[in-house]
């Protein structure tokens, strides 16, 4: 054997012996076994359930303890008098329920209305406090107002071009049974109009602006208000679809995550979520759609949105690209072919790729 060769068999035998000796000296060891890999992965998919269950059980135990203490019953004999009094008690319960039900229902409605009113007041108070803080921060000068409706009317594209672009999503809602579809940020109601023509029920929500008023006057179900409030008021698993065109890039990350969580809860199993945004992987969007709108809050890369959507519990997620750059803007191919033509094609793909993408996911 050469001088620098390693007698690997001898080395491994030494290592095994040393490990045995060290373990004997260190004791049986405290490294708990890893456990069932599949079970641990599945538990990660449902963190809330696993976290909530033990605390709920503990709370239930504590409540039982309190009940026992307040009733002071541990020493009382637990004899049943059902045979003697059972029928009379059941009859009295039925009569009382019939008499008192209207009052209980009324009380329940009042409680719900009271809770809603308090929540609304809290939200309004938060808004006012924020506005006051901003007002103080700017030295008391009124905040300049950005007229987004006017901006959008100029830069969002013609109604015809929007119809053509959004019609490509109609295949996701083939018939009336695939509705109702909620359009978040519906603007002038282009997609709602397309749905109506296809016989699919739908409604939209957006801030109050001339475009939504016009859409409402055209007979479309357009509501004004906050996305989250609208979703909050939809019953669980009541929607067949939720669409949001060019909306997610206006939201902060926590707001986007909240939107996805709510959407997942409000869609029925198999319901479709469509989120369209600016495709920043196509470099021309940095000189166009992305920078032109000063209200964009943060870029949302297609893969980031896909990750967030998957994390929110959606499945069968698909990425669709649209908004091809017009031929006169793209680099002209070199008719001679060769490396120059291939480079032009490569540049066209990177710089002038599709300007929009949409995540299509199912609940």
């Amino acid at each position: 054997m050469a001088d620098d060769a390693v007698d690997i068999e001898a080395l491994i035998a030494e290592i095994r012996e040393e490990a045995r000796a060290l373990r004997a000296r260190a004791g049986p060891g405290n490294v708990a076994p890893f456990g069932d890999r599949a079970a641990r992965l599945r538990a990660l998919a449902q963190p809330l359930a696993s976290e909530v269950a033990p605390s709920a059980a503990a709370a239930s135990d504590r409540a039982l303890e309190r009940m026992r203490a307040s009733a002071d019953l541990p020493s009382a004999p637990l004899d049943s008098h059902r045979a003697l009094l059972g029928h009379t008690v059941a009859l009295m319960k039925r009569i009382l329920r019939r008499v008192l039900s209207p009052f209980f229902d009324q009380q329940a409605r009042f409680n719900v209305a009271g809770i809603d009113a308090l929540a609304n007041l809290a939200r309004r108070l938060d808004t006012l406090e924020d506005a006051l803080a901003r007002h103080r921060a700017t030295g008391g000068d009124p905040e300049p107002c950005f007229d987004y409706a006017a901006f959008e009317a100029i830069f969002r594209g013609s109604r015809e071009s929007l119809r053509a672009a959004q019609a490509s999503y109609l295949d996701l809602f083939p018939d009336a049974a695939s509705g109702p579809v909620l359009d978040l940020g519906c603007g002038p109601g282009v997609f709602l109009e397309l749905l109506r023509e296809s016989g699919v029920p739908g409604f939209g929500v957006d801030r109050c602006n001339p475009a939504t008023t016009q859409a409402a006057l055209a007979g479309l179900d357009v509501r004004t208000g906050d996305f989250f409030e609208t979703l909050d008021h939809c019953p669980a698993q009541s929607l067949g679809g939720i669409v949001a065109f060019q909306v997610v890039e206006h939201l902060s990350l926590p707001a986007l995550q909240r939107l996805l969580r709510l959407a997942r809860q409000r869609l029925r199993p198999g319901g479709v979520l469509v989120l369209e945004s600016v495709n920043l992987a196509s470099l021309i969007t940095h000189a166009r759609g992305w920078t032109i709108d000063p209200t964009h809050a943060q870029p949302v890369h297609p893969l980031t949105l896909r990750f967030l959507v998957e994390q929110a519990g959606f499945s069968t997620i698909e990425l669709r690209y649209s908004g091809a750059v017009e031929a006169e803007t793209r680099l002209e191919p070199d008719p001679a072919g060769g490396a120059a033509a291939r480079n032009v094609e490569r540049l066209n793909r990177i710089v002038f790729g599709p300007q929009d993408y949409a995540i299509v996911a199912r609940a």
């Binding site: 390693v6 080395l11 290592i15 060290l22 060891g29 490294v31 890999r37 992965l41 990660l44 992987a281």
Partner: protein
């Protein structure tokens, strides 16, 4: 001759092999065209559809890189009359991705099915495996042993050898060198969990945990796997002893190798394992477990442990960290092995010899 592969992504083993192969064949006087289904990873469409007709003709020869299930590739193979050489990069078994990500599991199953089908397709003229392990597994699936050749993947090792390290990282990591480095994507087959267990056992036997530095690409779709690793770090109390670095550029990778005392590889499945070659070339001694192609990529007298417990691997790592003579011999042997078997000109000769006898 045409080289066909599903996607051409920067710093990807399959892409590097395909680009290297194009260079080798061009230098040998072949007319070579390369067709990738996708370029850059997330662009839409499948570019293979735009390939010219000549690659379907009987006179053409196509080197088909098999690294995943690929519908357009399947359609191409059904249509073509060209002589097909399958360049087998091996497929990570789908079972690793069960409970982690359905999409990855489905893609791996599709790849496994495609590999099985191609291994039994009489129209495949030659099977070019990237390691003896891949070759054995292909013949196990039914590939004709007479058609199977082995050639390591082409990898721009010289770029890493000549790259300047990132100075900021080099300074920081020189002050806090890694006892054990691992380079490889964060995926369930890469043995990260085993490394964490070994670190915990090491702490029990030697009184302190080794500093683990884990470098590699992380696909957000595998978030569940990453979350499990984080959870395991916390459970084992390894918080400050494990550094998860994520994907890095060449300069940072160089700094990582230069500031690590050892390379620990516990991968459960490898078709070749390029980081072992990089570690060998840059003088980082390797401690590894014998799974997949790991042993065949390392020198015959490398510190490869078969059926070893976490205690034994921890002791092996401790030996390499604390025995300078052993470390030097392992480094010299691995460096010589890399030069002899995986230098660019050596692999180029292997590939040309294999293709010329197909």
């Amino acid at each position: 001759m045409a080289i066909v592969l599903p996607s051409l992504v920067p710093d990807d083993a399959t892409g590097n092999d395909a680009l290297g192969m194009r260079q080798v064949l061009t230098d040998a006087g072949y007319e070579v065209a390369l067709f990738a289904g996708r370029i850059g990873g997330d662009l839409p469409g499948d570019l293979l559809a735009a390939a010219p007709d000549w690659i379907h003709r009987r006179a053409a020869r196509v080197v088909y890189h098999l690294a995943s299930g690929w519908a357009a590739g399947r359609a191409f193979l059904q249509r073509t009359s060209a002589r097909v050489v399958v360049r087998d990069h091996n497929i990570t078994p789908a079972a690793f991705f069960d409970d982690v990500n359905d999409e990855f599991a489905a893609a791996a199953r599709s790849g496994e099915a495609e590999r099985q089908r191609l291994a039994n397709d009489p129209r495949v003229g030659c099977w070019l495996a990237c390691s003896p392990f891949s070759a054995a597994s292909a013949t196990g699936l039914g590939a004709d042993p007479a058609k199977v050749r082995v050639a390591a993947p082409l990898h721009p090792l010289e770029q890493l050898e000549s790259a300047a390290p990132d100075l900021r990282r080099l300074r920081a990591w020189t002050e806090h060198p890694a006892d054990a480095l691992f380079v490889g994507r964060f995926a369930p087959n890469k043995g990260h969990l085993q490394m964490l267990a070994i670190a915990a056992h090491y702490r029990e036997l030697f009184g302190r945990a080794p500093r683990l530095r884990l470098v590699g690409r992380f696909d957000p779709r595998l978030w569940r796997w990453r979350a499990l690793l984080d959870q395991e770090c916390t459970r084992l109390g390894l918080g400050s002893d494990v550094e998860i670095i994520g994907e890095v550029d060449l300069a940072t990778l160089k700094a990582a190798y230069l500031t690590s005392h050892a390379f620990l590889c516990c991968s459960e499945h490898e078709g070749f394992c390029i980081p072992l070659v990089e570690a060998g070339a840059l003088g980082v001694p390797v401690v590894a477990t014998d799974r997949g192609a790991v042993a065949s990529t390392l020198a015959p007298d490398a510190a490869v442990l078969r059926d070893a417990s976490a205690d034994e691997i921890a002791v092996a790592l401790h030996r390499v960290l604390n025995d300078p003579a052993l470390r030097d011999r392992l480094v010299q042997n691995q460096r010589a092995h890399v030069r002899a078997h995986f230098a660019a000109e050596v692999v180029a000769r292997q590939i040309l010899a294999a293709l010329e006898t197909c």
